[in-house]
Symmetry: C2
DNA sequence: ATGTTACCGTAACGCCTGTTACGAATGGAG
DNA sequence: CTCCATTCGTAACAGGCGTTACGGTAACAT
């Protein structure tokens, strides 16, 4: 195993430790020492991999984007029809299970941290723009005869709904079980004539 | 002016300072000193009004709930029809202007802080439950012939959508202007047959 | 006018933070 | 085996944090 592969793997381990701390202890306890403890190393290793705390957070944020994008692309290419692709992609962007729920928690953590961080907010906006364009593309494929305006408005409604559903379920999974989320998604897709 | 009124007014001033810092500097810089500076006083006053930092945050969170509820009730009672009430209430829960956008930022800040705070998450869930019941009641009034299940599912879709729209607009107001938000809300209400 | 009480600013405390410097260990090269 | 470069743990630093103790000041009662 090469050294560069080692470095990259350690970077991923540390980024996942960032997610873990962010999901379990929140933004206020997201310290370099807490990340090191979650990764099973010391602060020395962390500060040798990343020049400072912000760089660590930015890398974790970037990797989260990459991981979710790869999962979405796999779901999209595995779907039988355009409408099935739209539904599958939207469903995983809510919080249908514990893993996606934790992702939603981490997501809101990064969002809250981005308020005062120019680079984090830039990354967030870029990510959101790509996500919006993806759902617009999927919506257009699912309803080929719609006008662009209708596609854009509907796609915005869909991503807003799944985003909000993820936030609700992240904070109170018992009150918003997966079955309710799925029923709500199907009801909305039906109302829009996309199911 | 009585002393108790003074104390209460100072508590409100400090809570609004908490919101201000949370909206402008983010959760990481939400310190007692920053709140005191935003309120135009010293840390001594803050610590004489509240036993500790958490109590200050809890009071600010509680007051935010109260303020938004009063605004919603005013909108609800001022509406001409049940459907107009539903629409007005949903619209203000997105981010149609700068004031509501800042509220959305503060909201996500409190949500992120609640991850590791039992009392904050309890308050958040209680608030969400009341909000959900309110929109269910408004939806039932707007569609009197619907079955309870259909009302519940639709209301969930509506609150999820406005919540998500608020989050998107809070982080990137330029990409999600008020006109787009309003058009999307109307499109969704139309799709559900509620407009 | 004087004593008393409540109020709040000042300054300090200990703790925890991000960051840095240094030394030990490890592992390949000659 | 020896040397050297790289890697990473240890320990310390300054700064900022929440919290506390103390002193001054203003308002009210007598």
């Amino acid at each position: 195993m090469s050294r560069t592969a080692d470095r990259s793997a350690q970077g991923e381990t540390l980024s996942r430790a960032v997610w873990s701390v962010l999901a379990e202890q929140g933004l206020e306890r997201l310290t370099v020492r807490a990340v090191a403890a979650a990764a099973g190393c010391t602060t020395g290793l962390v500060m040798h991999r990343f020049p400072n705390r912000r760089a660590l957070l930015l890398h974790a944020r970037h990797l989260l984007h990459q991981v979710t994008r790869e999962r979405v692309e796999a779901l999209e290419s595995a779907a039988a029809t355009p409408r099935a692709a739209l539904r599958a992609v939207l469903q995983q962007s809510m919080a249908p299970d514990e893993a996606t729920r934790q992702e939603a928690v981490v997501w809101t953590g990064f969002l809250a941290a981005a308020v005062a961080d120019e680079e984090l907010i830039t990354e967030h906006r870029r990510n959101n723009r790509l996500w919006r364009e993806r759902v617009e593309r999927l919506t257009a494929a699912a309803a080929p005869d719609w006008a662009p305006d209708r596609v854009a408005t509907t796609a915005l409604a869909l991503i807003a709904m799944t985003e909000g559903m993820g936030a609700y379920a992240a904070a109170d999974p018992a009150a918003f079980p997966a079955a309710d989320q799925e029923r709500m998604l199907d009801a909305t897709l039906t109302a829009y004539g996309l199911l």
